[in-house]
C-alpha cells in the first residue's frame, strides 16, 4: 500500500455529499418511476461504498495493533502509511461504523414493531376487499405491505373525501403495494443511516415513491385534477385535525404535499433531456464510489496476504 491509499479512500466518503444536489434535480426532471429507481440504486451504491471504506480503514488500523496482527497471523508488518496517521483514522472509522450500526439497528427494531402493530391492527379490522377501516378521529391512510396487501384508512379520512376522491386515494395506495414501494423506502432508510449526506436523498426517494403512486392513481381514475384535489383535501383535513404537530413543523420550505399537488395540476410535460444526464451523472458518481471502495479493499486484502507471508509484494 502506498500513500495514495488515503486520498483515494476519500472518494467514496465524499461522493455522497454531491448526491442530495443531484437527487433533487433527478426528482424534478425525470418521470417518477425512473427517478425512484435511479435514486434508490444510487443511494444503495453510495452507502455500500461508504461502509466498505470505513471497514477497510478500520481493518488496516486494527492490523497495526500487535494483538490483532497476531490473530490475523501477520508475519510481516502491514505496509501502510505511518501508524500515527492510520490509527486515529481507523478509530474514527470504527466509531462511525458503530454509530451507524446502532442507529440502523434501532431503526430496524422500531420499524418492525410498527409494521407488526399495523398488521395485527389490520388483521382485527373487518376487511372489505383489500380495504381495512380503522375508527379514528384522525384522518390517515397508508399502504400496508404483506400477504395479502392491504390499504388502511381511518373513518375520519373516508369522511373528508367524496366517493371519487376516495377512489383516487385507494388507487394511490394500491399503486404503492403493486409497485413494491416499501422495498424502496426500506433501502432509502438503510442508506440514510450509512452516511448523513444521504438523508436528503432518503427524502427524495420518499417523494419519488409518492409521485409514482400519484401518477398511477391519476391514470387509474383518469383525472389528474381529481387526484390533486384528493391529496390536497386529505392533507388539509389531517392538518386541521392535528394542530399539535403544526406547531413544531418548520415553515421554511415548501413540503412534499404541495409539490405533489402542483405536479398533478401542471400540464403533463415531456421529461426533460437534462433529466437523463443528471440521472446518469448520479449513477456514475455512485458506481465510481463503490468501485474505488472495492479497489481499496482488494488492495488491502493483497497487502494482508503479503504480510501473512502468503504472497510476494
Amino acid at each position: 500500500m502506498t500513500f495514495s491509499f488515503l486520498p483515494v479512500l476519500l472518494v467514496p466518503l465524499l461522493a455522497p455529499c454531491v448526491a442530495p444536489l443531484l437527487a433533487r434535480r433527478v426528482l424534478d426532471r425525470c418521470p417518477p418511476v425512473a427517478a425512484l429507481w435511479t435514486l434508490t440504486v444510487s443511494a444503495l451504491l453510495l452507502a455500500a461504498g461508504t461502509v466498505a471504506t470505513l471497514g477497510t480503514l478500520t481493518l488496516t488500523g486494527m492490523l497495526h495493533v500487535p494483538a490483532f496482527a497476531a490473530v490475523g497471523e501477520l508475519v510481516h508488518p502491514l505496509r501502510t502509511p505511518s501508524a500515527w496517521l492510520v490509527l486515529p483514522l481507523a478509530v474514527l472509522a470504527a466509531g462511525l461504523l458503530t454509530l451507524a450500526t446502532l442507529a440502523l439497528g434501532r431503526s430496524v427494531v422500531r420499524q418492525t414493531a410498527g409494521l407488526r402493530t399495523a398488521r395485527s391492527q389490520a388483521g382485527r379490522c373487518p376487511a372489505a376487499g383489500d380495504l381495512c377501516v380503522v375508527e379514528s378521529a384522525r384522518p390517515d391512510a397508508y399502504a400496508l405491505p404483506g400477504r395479502p396487501h392491504r390499504i388502511v384508512v381511518t373513518t375520519a379520512m373516508l369522511r373528508s373525501l367524496d366517493a371519487r376522491e376516495r377512489e383516487a386515494l385507494f388507487a394511490h395506495e394500491r399503486a404503492h403495494n403493486a409497485g413494491g414501494h416499501h422495498y424502496f423506502l426500506a433501502a432509502a432508510e438503510l442508506a440514510a443511516h450509512c452516511h448523513p449526506a444521504l438523508r436528503p436523498v432518503r427524502d427524495a426517494i420518499r417523494l419519488a415513491a409518492e409521485r409514482a403512486a400519484d401518477e398511477a392513481a391519476a391514470r387509474r381514475v383518469g383525472d389528474r385534477r381529481l387526484t390533486a384535489r384528493a391529496i390536497a383535501r386529505a392533507a388539509l383535513a389531517t392538518h386541521t385535525a392535528d394542530t399539535r404537530r403544526s406547531a413544531v413543523t418548520p415553515a421554511a420550505t415548501t413540503g412534499p404535499v404541495p409539490r405533489r399537488v402542483a405536479a398533478l395540476l401542471s400540464p403533463t410535460h415531456r421529461p426533460l433531456r437534462t433529466g437523463s444526464w443528471i440521472a446518469a451523472l448520479l449513477a456514475v458518481c455512485a458506481v465510481l464510489s463503490v468501485t474505488t471502495a472495492a479497489t481499496s479493499a482488494v488492495e488491502v486484502h493483497q497487502d494482508i496476504e503479503v504480510a501473512q507471508g502468503e504472497a510476494r509484494g
Binding site: 431503526s107 420499524q111 410498527g114 409494521l115 402493530t117 391492527q121 382485527r124 379490522c125 373487518p126 372489505a128 376487499g129 383489500d130 380495504l131 380503522v134 375508527e135 379514528s136 384522525r138 390517515d140 391512510a141 397508508y142 405491505p145 373516508l158 369522511r159 366517493a163 371519487r164 376516495r166 377512489e167 385507494f170 394511490h172 395506495e173 404503492h176 423506502l185 426500506a186 432509502a188 432508510e189 432518503r202 420518499r206 409518492e210 381514475v221 383518469g222 390533486a228 391529496i231 390536497a232 383535501r233 392533507a235 388539509l236 389531517t238 392538518h239 392535528d242 404537530r245 403544526s246 413543523t249 421554511a252 415548501t254 413540503g255 412534499p256 404535499v257 404541495p258 399537488v261 395540476l265
Partner: protein, 122 residues
Amino acid sequence: MTDAKDQRRPAGELEAAVMAALWAAGAPLTPAQVQAELASGLARTTVTTILSRLHEKGTVERERQGRGYAYRPLQDPHGLTALRMHSELDRGDDRESVLARFVAQLSPDDEEVLRRLLQEGQ
C-alpha cells in the same frame, strides 16, 4: 367512470368502494343510496350483490327498511384498542419510512400553498 370500466374491476375493489361509502355516510344506507353515493354507474343489482356478500362475511349489519334492507358497517367492538394502537403508531416519525402514507405533515406555508392550488384547480 363508466359501467364497462366497473365491470372489469376486481370484486375486492368494488367491495372496498362500497364499504368506504358506508363508513363515510355514518348512517345506514340502502343499495339505492349506495349506488347514488358512489356515482360510478354501478348497476343496482351489483351493489345489492356486494352488500349481501359483505353481510355474509359479517363486515356489515343490516336492518329492514321498507321492502329491502339498509346496511351499515359493523362497529369495531375493540374500537378503543384500535385507537390506542393508532396513537402508538403515531409515535415518532420513523413510521413514515416503511408505511407509505397518503399525505405527509404540512407546514403552515404548505397549508397556504395548498389552499391556493385547490382554488386554481377548481
